[in-house]
Symmetry: C2
């Protein structure tokens, strides 16, 4: 591949002049500029970013680590980040940690070696993270996404999970539900799920009801009905559940219906995240919508500001309740209304 020097030679100028023709075209006389561009074309010259990066000590690359792209929340966030980054002529180096702390460390080390200008991470548990500890000693700007801020000393982009969990709960309470449960994936692997649970407990207590223990599933994205069945029977059976993410909620709805339960007739189901698909299902998924695209965009913009040396403390982004057909009035209420 041809380089600047050969372009310069062919154009009959020095390497410096050729370089300037590209980086600051107005510093070079139009005539010579033309000669240089022509030469470049003939040689199909293409500037070498690696060399630029080495020389300028900046890569214009940002390192992104998410737990898994199999969950649309992260994919949708990444989609937005990519668009935002490209708009500022940054590139994205993308990795997935598969929720494993050891992978997290390898990945970050690798990205630091690559000299990314900054990092956008979603870690398992920001309050207790080896990677973040190590990163504290570095001076590469770093920003969290989805992880609750506060636990870690790092800036974070996301919603107030605690408040959002409470909002979800209150929505169900308002409809008349009292026996509300919470369904989560492996809890220890998700600080945000924990916060959502806190919000739930808070709202339940405020309303005078006893919060129940989390029903914990083995996987983050797939509910298994058996774990929930006990809560669906007996005198104290649930009339509604909140899942800590949409995939869990969707698969739970499927399992329930397949087993002959009606949603929301027998059980109201709420999700959390607001992935695009949820709107199109039937019944459509009632959920707390995180502004995934805005989160992605804001993450990029905030990180770029940090890279420029501006210090900034991002505020939580607003979540929203998305109504959906998967939630209804609890059964006992409906009959009361019918007979009153």
């Amino acid at each position: 591949m041809s380089d600047l020097l050969s372009v310069a030679k062919l154009a009959g100028v020095s390497r410096a002049t050729a370089a300037r023709a590209f980086s600051s075209p107005d510093l070079v006389r139009p005539a010579t500029r033309e000669k240089i561009f022509n030469a470049a074309q003939q040689l199909s010259f293409r500037p070498n970013k690696v060399a630029q990066q080495l020389r300028s000590q900046a890569t214009q690359m940002i390192g992104v680590m998410v737990p898994s792209l199999d969950n649309p929340v992260f994919a949708e966030q990444l989609q937005a980040m990519e668009v935002a980054a490209r708009a500022s002529s940054y590139s994205l180096l993308v990795t997935t940690s598969e929720y494993s702390p050891s992978r997290e460390e390898e990945i970050v080390e690798e990205m630091l070696r690559q000299r990314v200008d900054g990092l956008v991470l979603t870690v398992a548990d920001a309050g207790n993270s080896a990677v973040l500890e190590k990163l504290r000693l570095e001076n590469t700007p770093c920003l969290l996404v989805y992880n609750p801020p506060g636990n870690s000393g790092y800036a974070s982009i996301g919603v107030d999970n605690n408040a959002a969990g409470a909002d979800a709960t209150r929505h169900l309470l308002t409809l008349g539900h009292e026996r509300i449960g919470m369904v989560a994936g492996p809890l220890l692997q998700s600080d945000r799920a924990q916060q959502r649970y806190e919000g739930y407990r808070h709202a339940m207590r405020d309303a005078g009801f006893k919060p129940r223990p989390v029903v914990e599933m083995n996987r983050h994205t797939q509910a298994d009905l058996a774990s929930l069945t006990p809560e669906l029977n007996g005198p104290d059976f649930l009339t509604a559940v909140i899942c800590t993410n949409d995939l869990l909620a969707i698969s739970l709805m499927g399992e329930l219906q397949r087993a002959g339960f009606s949603v929301p007739g027998d059980l109201s189901v709420m999700g959390f995240d607001g992935i695009a698909l949820g709107k199109h299902l039937y019944p459509s998924l009632c959920t707390i919508e995180q502004p995934r695209a805005e989160i992605g965009r804001t993450a990029v913009q905030t990180l770029l500001a940090m890279i420029r040396g501006e210090s900034c403390t991002p505020a939580p982004l607003p979540h929203a309740l998305r109504q959906g057909e998967s939630v209804g009035i609890p059964t006992f209420r409906k009959s009361m209304l019918g007979t009153s």
Copy 2:
């Protein structure tokens, strides 16, 4: 950030020796090696990949371009690619084209400047693509994913879309459907959708039925019922449809049910892709499953082989019919069975 030279100085050796301690440890005496490692630790030295890349003229980075990460097919493929790439110590530079040919060109140009070792692309239409034309003049290895091979002269990883479209159709025919339609997003933007349609036509004709024109939606991932309604009424109403991707199918099912139609009672719906979520819905989505993870993995491995200089012609990967509750026996058949 400290560099090799400062490590060397602190260890009291030359830069070359320090370098060797890392790249070929057995070429340096254990004692000095230790000194060097200690010095590196003290200075928290971290090798600079950018410099290595410049020097070695290889980045160990592969450039990936997909249309959009909002569609789980691409996200799931990317997830697998990332794992496979990291296993071979390659990194992924990820971009989205948003189905826009002009973006496709910018992106590829950018990646070539970055000197990625190879490219994995999913383009709108491989048979008629400016990017691919341009790339033909370059010597950066390039591999397509999902795009049908043959049209472009580029190797491609994916299933045989034609055969898969025919298989889908035959599945419905076998169940007794005769009035089968096909629903697609903007056709011109997807060579694979076109091939799937070809397969459908072929299978219909083989069975002695007249293929119908595609019902084309405005968006790739969201069906709108109004466009389909005409086909659902009249004497010639459809009993089954095949959608060119799962998102389309899922949203169509939702719309139908919301409008009071039963799936599959009034209309059987098939998808195409096999995204993970489809299995968990109710009714679960009957679809043609593309082995997304295997596609991602194979793409990486094939590209790495090409980078190593091995020439290889990948074979199409096998697709599979995934049974699902969204497809049933056509109504007129059911009543015939009932009264016979």
